[in-house]
């Protein structure tokens, strides 16, 4: 029996988050969240089952998603960053290998990234 791919979404701009959720849904991908801040996303990491995560870098009020990214690295969960800043995003070098998506997100590229990393999980 195959389970649907589940993607955790951390994005403080909720219209964007729900548009993302709708887009994922159209492609038979379930959304965990969306979460608007790092704290609520962190709390969900061990409670919810998911295969992949989309992390908005800047979460408002100076908060970033790096604590969640670190927690995902430890759990060896694949994830990508989504950012409105482009290469100027203030991300530490330890995330250099992590893929980045500029807003508005290119849906086909994002789906490819999700399918690539979650293919092993589903089979």
């Amino acid at each position: 029996m195959t389970h649907p791919t589940r993607v955790l979404v951390l994005e403080d701009q909720l219209l964007l988050a729900f548009a993302l959720k709708a887009m994922l849904g159209e492609n038979d991908i379930e959304t965990v969240g969306p979460f608007a801040n790092a704290q609520s996303a962190l709390a969900a990491l061990d409670e919810e089952e998911f295969h992949f995560a989309l992390l908005d870098v800047n979460l408002g009020d100076g908060e970033t998603s790096t604590p969640v990214a670190d927690a995902l690295l430890i759990r060896e969960k694949p994830f990508v960053f989504v950012t409105g800043y482009g290469s100027a995003a203030p991300l530490p070098p330890r995330f250099d290998h992590v893929d980045r998506f500029l807003k508005p997100v290119n849906v086909q590229r994002l789906l490819a990234a999700i399918n690539q990393t979650s293919a092993g999980v589903q089979s």
Binding site: L14, L15, F18, P34, G84, A88, P104
Partner: protein, 342 residues
């Protein structure tokens, strides 16, 4: 005339009119004058340069003393700029901007140094030029850079929000014309919220301003006064929540105009905001409208999503939609909001 004469005599006492004029002009423009002899490693400074470097007295000034007050990160730049000016094969020009911390203490300053070198038989003899404190210009340029950055960020976010609206409006749309008019109205609502934010310079926006802005897209000022009645405390929504709140109120107004209390001649809407249980409750109550029905048609997708899920999550609250006997009702319970400042 020696360097010492220059700095000790008041400008008014200088006999030569041309010299007096130059000194007065340099003082007025706060420009310091220096000369550097590379062959003896000796610099001659006027009062203004001494002041900027925070070095007083008549000690011989060497290149090392000049460099010691330059910010460590700018020393390589200073070395390269100087070497370039002293290069007999170059143009002999120096023009560089770097940071200096006065030896006597005090805040770091940005300095622009411009000079020209005189050569004799291919040997650099005298580098003569000026220094000027350009800290204010640098800070203004930095503020500008940050503003442009912030603007870029907001433009990107606004475009991303517009893309989200375009995408989310598909649900419930039953044809290209209804889809287009729904997207068109929503982008206008987004734009109206943007205007409010611009007016407050991205500070919190009052509930009544958002309500009026949403209502005015469909109602005349007269109709607004008669048919939408606000009571309770006026509160302010943080800038981050203004777009969502503005669009949610827009959806409520549009729903009322299509199916609810604004779709006939007599209906009215009571909007209240009251504190309760340590938080605030916003209520939207329609009455004397046509028989309420479940929101149908193109408004069901986006409007319901916004009111039921997005707005409560944005404001860390809870929402309830109900179709009472008198009309549609919407309640939003949120943590306590700031009261509107006078």
């Amino acid at each position: 005339m020696t360097e010492n004469d220059l700095k000790q005599r008041p400008v008014a006492d200088i006999a030569d009119p041309t010299e007096r004029r130059i000194q007065a002009a340099l003082r007025a423009a706060r420009i310091g004058v220096f000369e550097f002899e590379p062959q003896t490693n000796t610099a001659f400074w006027d009062e203004r340069v001494r002041e900027l470097w925070g070095i007083s007295g008549n000690d011989r000034i060497t290149y090392e003393m000049v460099l010691a007050q330059v910010h460590p990160d700018d020393r390589a730049l200073h070395d390269a700029g100087t070497a370039k000016a002293l290069d007999p094969d170059g143009d002999g020009r120096m023009d560089m901007t770097y940071r200096v911390s006065p030896k006597s203490g005090g805040p770091m300053r940005w300095i622009r140094a411009e000079a020209e070198c005189a050569f004799e038989n291919g040997i650099p003899m005298r580098l003569v030029g000026t220094v000027k404190d350009v800290t204010e210009q640098r800070e203004a340029a930095e503020r500008n850079r940050l503003l442009v950055n912030e603007l870029q960020h907001r433009v990107k976010n606004t475009l991303a929000t517009a893309v989200a609206v375009v995408s989310l409006s598909r649900e419930g749309a039953d044809g290209i014309d209804t889809y287009f008019s729904a997207v068109d109205e929503r982008l206008r609502a987004l734009s109206a919220s943007h205007d409010l934010l611009r007016r407050t310079d991205w500070s919190p926006v009052a509930l009544t301003d958002l309500l009026r802005s949403a209502a005015m897209t469909l109602l005349s000022p007269e109709e607004y006064r008669q048919r939408i009645l606000f009571s309770g405390d006026d509160v302010e929504f943080p800038a981050k929540a203004v777009m969502t709140m503005g669009m949610a109120l827009h959806e409520l107004v549009v729903n009322a105009a299509k199916h609810g209390a604004l779709s006939n001649q007599d209906g009215r809407i009571d909007v209240t905001l009251q504190s309760a249980n340590g938080g605030d409750i916003l209520t939207w109550t329609e009455s004397a409208g046509p028989e309420p029905t479940e929101i149908t048609g193109r408004q069901s997708g986006f409007g319901t999503l916004l009111l039921k899920e997005i707005l409560p999550l944005e404001l860390s609250g809870k929402s309830a939609l109900a179709y009472g006997a008198d009309g549609f009702e919407y309640n939003l319970t949120v943590p306590s909001l700031e009261r509107r400042r006078a």
